[in-house]
């Protein structure tokens, strides 16, 4: 499957808006400025997904995994290097300045909740902008390798042969926290997403047309 330049651009712009909402939520939660890179869109066979993600975050990672379904179904991930995950929970909890070395039970709970807020901020834009209802299940925190995580995701979706990976890197300024926001979609869901983005653009055009011709639209009511 290949996307046209126009489709890739429109997808990137929508994801930029969605991921920016996530960054804003993260900024509100931590009280720190969040720097976001330009989103990238790539398509891989499912078995190559983990290795392609691992090149960004080698070593131990902490991932919050949010499956979603509905008209568009897929898996959203907030992936942090392990050290970054520990530092993020320190930013969010008052631990008296004690430097943590690992994610204890309480830190894992905090991280899962933060992941839930952030990923919902992103996926909420599917509803708010595209008017597509997506349903969330409870997010899961994973501390295993990316290989194992992606393997478990691909086993859950029998038809998933190719996955679109839409990702962006973020960094919390004044801290060592860096990570990736990743969406994994099947080709079918990607096709649906593209269609909905094209409808969104058509609605915007209609809005421009209506704003140019308010009298006509009033008469047609």
């Amino acid at each position: 499957m290949t996307l046209t330049d126009r489709q890739t651009d429109a997808l990137g712009e929508f994801i930029n808006i969605a991921f920016s909402r996530t960054a804003s939520s993260l900024s509100e939660i931590t009280g720190q400025r969040v720097l976001l890179e330009v989103p990238q869109v790539e398509i891989y066979p499912i078995e190559e997904v983990a290795s392609n993600l691992a090149r960004f975050l080698p070593g131990d990672v902490a991932s919050i995994h949010q499956p979603f379904d509905g008209a568009i179904a897929g898996d959203a991930f907030l992936i942090l290097n392990y050290e970054g995950a520990v530092r993020l929970t320190e930013l969010l909890t008052d631990n008296g300045g004690v430097r943590q070395q690992y994610l204890d039970e309480s830190a894992r709970e905090v991280l899962t909740e933060v992941g839930n807020i952030l990923l919902n901020a992103c996926l909420g834009m599917f509803g708010n902008v595209l008017r597509v209802r997506v349903n969330f299940t409870v997010p899961n925190l994973h501390l295993e390798s990316l290989d194992e995580l992606i393997d478990s995701v691909s086993k859950e979706h029998d038809g998933l042969r190719y996955a679109i990976i839409i990702y962006t890197a973020f960094r919390i300024r004044e801290s060592a926290v860096t990570g990736y926001l990743v969406l994994v979609l099947s080709v079918v869901s990607l096709q649906r997403l593209i269609e909905e983005i094209e409808r969104w653009e058509e609605r915007q055009e209609q809005e421009i047309h209506t704003s140019q011709n308010p009298a006509k639209s009033d008469l047609s009511v």
Partner: protein, 124 residues
């Protein structure tokens, strides 16, 4: 003579939408697909106002704004970005942008900002 608007955004879709909105209000539009091209187009086209994205592949929008201000301290610039962090609003204001609008864009939001900024008298 029509007033000229420069749109600097690395998203074709955003440029397309902004162009339609701005042209519908009777302005002439020129475009640039990245920050460096935006600076070049400003020099060549001498537009009356610039719509400027923040997160672009080659340059951050506020760095583009700084260059535009060096070239023309009276440049009218509206930042159009999906970044809604409060700190971003503060940085944009501190950098001297004339207005900030959030994406997704709507004709109402764009034209209100455009008309407000165009009506301001620049005294620099």
């Amino acid at each position: 003579m029509k007033k000229k608007i420069l749109i600097v955004d690395d998203s074709q879709m955003s440029r397309r939408m902004l162009r339609r909105i701005v042209e519908s209000a009777g302005y002439e539009v020129v475009e640039a697909g990245d920050g460096a091209a935006g600076i070049e187009q400003y020099f060549l086209e001498n537009p009356d106002l610039v719509f400027l994205d923040l997160t672009m592949k080659d340059m951050y929008g506020l760095d583009v704004l700084a260059k535009l201000r060096e070239m023309d301290p009276a440049a009218r610039v509206i930042i159009a970005s999906a970044d809604i962090q409060e700190s971003t609003h503060e940085m944009v204001a501190a950098a001297g942008a004339d207005a900030f609008i959030n994406k997704p864009l709507s004709p109402e939001k764009v034209l209100k900002a455009l008309e407000t900024v165009m009506s301001e008298v620049k005294t620099i």
